[in-house]
């Protein structure tokens, strides 16, 4: 009796389970179809959102690129403005000084020979007197001894020679100043690179001389190629490049000497070499045996406004402008090799004739 009630109960439970499972199966089928539709829908939404994001990403990238270009253009423009302002001021000043010095020097240089002739004539006259009046009166004899006439005769030659050298040196400097400023030579023309280098060195001459800190001075070696032809270039701007590189080399050597601790045999040296490259281009190398360039700033060396010099001493424009002058104005190349602690070589490669 109990068993049959139990069986009935179990049967009822089983029937219920079957009903529930059937219902669940029905619902699963419906749910599955709807789920498939829903997943397609969401996929579509997400795809569109991703497409939108990609689009705006590209737009942003382009905008960023445009801004970077604009910034770089602005920097270049600013650099050019500063430079042209500076060069024009410097050029006017240098030209003015050169002109003002040139006139008085001409008087001196032009009259030196004349003055020498006068003196020689007077000395000749005195000698004639001495021949014809071998026994001068006591007063004259005393004066001859007092002015040491023999030495005066002998030394006046040296004196005039030295004055001539001095005057020549002044006119040489004036010529260099004019060559450097090249106010009259901003045009593209044939020029001798060696002359440009020499005029720049002349201007920098004082910085090569011995100082209390650097009693040896800086040794300059000129290793100019003999067959180097004149090249078509902008001589003024090119001199400025030489100037910038040489000043940096001198600064590096000064810094090293000031720092001290070098062996006694060390001689601070700058070497300028020129040659005609196999590709028929002019190759100029300016090397120093200074501190070299630290690796961490190598990438930034030609960046505008990058400088390692104390505030007020460097604009950070020198090498940037030089780079621009060489690459853009002359279609040449400017690069450097440097080993920290051993020195730096700046190399310029310039075409002889630009089409």
């Amino acid at each position: 009796m109990n068993e049959s009630i139990d069986d009935q109960h179990r049967l009822k439970e089983l029937e219920k389970t079957v009903r529930i499972l059937q219902k669940k199966l029905q619902r699963s089928e419906v749910d599955r179809t709807e789920l498939e539709n829903a997943s397609e829908l969401r996929e579509s939404v997400l795809k569109t959102v991703i497409r939108d994001l990609e689009k705006s990403h590209t737009i942003l990238q382009d905008r960023g690129q445009a801004l970077e270009t604009a910034l770089s253009d602005l920097k270049t423009l600013q650099m050019k403005l500063v430079e042209s302002e500076k060069m024009s001021a410097l050029g006017i000043m240098v030209a003015g000084i050169a002109h003002e010095i040139n006139n008085p020097v001409s008087f001196i240089y032009g009259n030196l020979d004349c003055a020498n002739d006068y003196l020689q004539s007077l000395l000749g006259l005195i000698q004639l007197y001495q021949i014809h009046y071998p026994e001068p009166i006591a007063t004259i004899q005393a004066e001859i001894e007092s002015i040491d006439l023999d030495f005066l005769k002998q030394d006046s030659k040296n004196l005039f020679q030295s004055m001539r050298v001095g005057a020549e040196r002044i006119s040489e400097i004036v010529t260099s100043l004019r060559t450097f400023s090249r106010l009259d030579e901003s045009d593209f023309k044939m020029a001798d690179i060696h002359k440009g280098l020499d005029s720049t060195i002349t201007i920098l001459n004082t910085r090569l001389k011995p100082t209390p800190v650097n009693p040896e001075g800086i040794k300059l070696i000129r290793d100019y190629g003999i067959t180097l032809p004149c090249i078509n270039c902008y001589p003024g701007p090119l001199n400025q490049v030489f100037m910038n590189i040489l000043v940096n080399a001198i600064d590096a050597l000064d810094e090293l000497v000031e720092q001290g601790g070098m062996p006694e045999s060390f001689v601070p040296t700058i070497c300028i070499s020129t040659e005609l490259s196999p590709l028929n281009k002019v190759l100029i190398r300016i090397s120093d045996n200074g501190l070299g360039i630290p690796d961490n700033i190598k990438d930034k060396l030609f960046d505008p406004f990058f400088t390692t010099k104390p505030v007020g001493q460097g604009t950070g424009l020198g090498l940037a402008i030089s780079y621009q002058i060489v690459t853009e104005k002359h279609q040449g190349r400017l690069w450097y090799d440097s080993i920290p602690g051993q020195g730096t070589v700046f190399s310029l490669e310039l075409p002889i004739d630009q089409a």
């Binding site: 059937q22 969401r42 579509s44």
Partner: protein, 394 residues
């Protein structure tokens, strides 16, 4: 004293299901007579038979209820195709039911009818539970917002309204409401609680906006005509291609210039004019955005809703009953994880507290403790009920 019990059956056969549900309830009532009840039924049951059985078991009971998109209770947890019943018995809490008809055509009048019937001589209800129709037999919908306005008008702003609109298992055709022994459509059944009743509630959503924002340039009520000066459908088509807007792709509608937003679910559309009809109103000039979901965030919103309600609960004792109203879209998008919503609430409560709830087509709840009620979508609403003189536990 308030005694709340639940019954729940997953038997698809109406007769067996209602018997099982009543068995559960009788066992826990310990001879007490319930005066009111809430019934949540899946779509394929024989409703008349079920209501008759309940009325036979507890003659004259003030019962309301509706069809759903899923049922929850502390007996079987989350279920679909099931029958769930919550019964209230109390000598200190007064509970009465009312119903209004013609919810679509005249929501204000229907709401007034329901409130009037339920209030009777007692004019100081403390909370209203409403289970109005959403889809009516011809496939059109009522306006949740208008029904809410009607109820507020009849009750006054100070009575919080909680609940949800009836569902039909995601078929979006026709929903059914229950009032005592009547099976209704297009109606607003409500329960009003007064006397020694303590109430608190919490809401949370979990959706996140995605894609480009747009401005509603032309809309009226629940009809959205233009976004950014172009037909509303074009905004959707950018993301969906030729697929129509559905409940899976609700809009986030921003509240003014703030970052806060509420959800609006698209319902029907007109391919020719590009107009989309939503299940809630969308104000003109509001900023809208499509939304995306993350199931983790949706599930955790359920817990957040519950903890908010619990933190606000004013009673000196613990709550004695929990009612949950969760959006059908949550159930649908959570799929196999839908049961976690109920489970999170269950785990946070002592095991003896009865829980009952359903998946709705639109939720009613205030956002703030003393605030006015809002009509929500995609939201999880927790309602806690209790008294200051709880039943002694055996």
């Amino acid at each position: 004293m308030l005694k709340v019990v639940v019954g729940h059956s997953e038997d698809p056969e109406s007769q067996y299901a209602v018997e099982e549900v009543l068995d559960h309830c009788r066992k826990d009532l310990c001879g007490l007579k319930p005066q009111a009840g809430i019934l949540f039924a899946a779509i394929d049951f024989d409703y008349s038979l079920i209501l008759d059985h309940i009325n036979q078991a507890f003659p004259g009971i003030d019962l309301i209820g509706c069809t759903t998109d899923g049922e929850m209770s502390s007996i079987l947890g989350f279920q679909q195709d099931s029958l769930a019943l919550m019964l209230f018995s109390s000598d200190t809490v007064k509970i009465s039911a009312g119903v209004g008809l013609g919810a679509k055509e005249n929501p204000t009048l229907a709401a007034q009818q329901a409130v009037h019937q339920a209030t009777g001589s007692d004019a100081s209800p403390k909370v209203c539970i409403a289970l109005p129709a959403s889809y009516i037999s011809d496939g059109s919908t009522t306006s949740g917002g208008e029904i809410l306005k009607g109820l507020e008008l009849a009750l006054g702003n100070h009575v919080p309204i909680l609940g949800g609109t009836a569902g039909d298992q995601y078929r979006f055709k026709s929903t059914v409401q229950f009032f005592r022994t009547e099976v209704l459509t297009n109606s607003i059944p409500i329960l009003l609680f007064s006397g020694d009743i303590q109430v608190s509630y919490g809401t949370a959503c979990g959706w996140t906006p995605i894609g480009q924002k747009g401005i509603v340039t032309r809309s009226k009520g629940t009809a959205l005509y233009e976004i950014d000066g172009k037909p509303a459908l074009e905004f959707y088509q950018r993301y969906l291609g030729d697929r129509p807007p559905t409940a899976e792709t609700p809009l986030a509608v921003y509240d003014g210039q703030s970052d806060l937003y509420y959800m609006r679910v698209p319902n029907t559309y007109d391919a020719d004019s590009g107009q989309i009809n939503f299940l809630g109103d969308i104000p003109q000039q509001s900023i809208i955005q499509l939304t995306d979901i993350n199931r983790d965030e949706i599930v955790s919103a359920a817990e957040q809703s519950f903890t908010t309600a619990l933190a606000r609960y004013p009673g000196t004792a613990s709550p004695e009953a929990v009612l949950l109203f969760s959006c059908c879209c949550r159930r649908w998008l959570l799929g196999s994880r839908a049961k976690e919503e109920y489970q999170l609430v269950r785990n946070a409560l002592s095991s003896s507290v009865p829980i009952c709830g359903f998946y709705t087509y639109g939720e009613f709840a205030p956002l703030e403790p003393e605030g006015t009620t809002h009509y929500h979508q995609e939201t999880f609403v927790t309602l806690l009920l209790g008294t200051n003189s709880p039943l002694e536990k055996p």
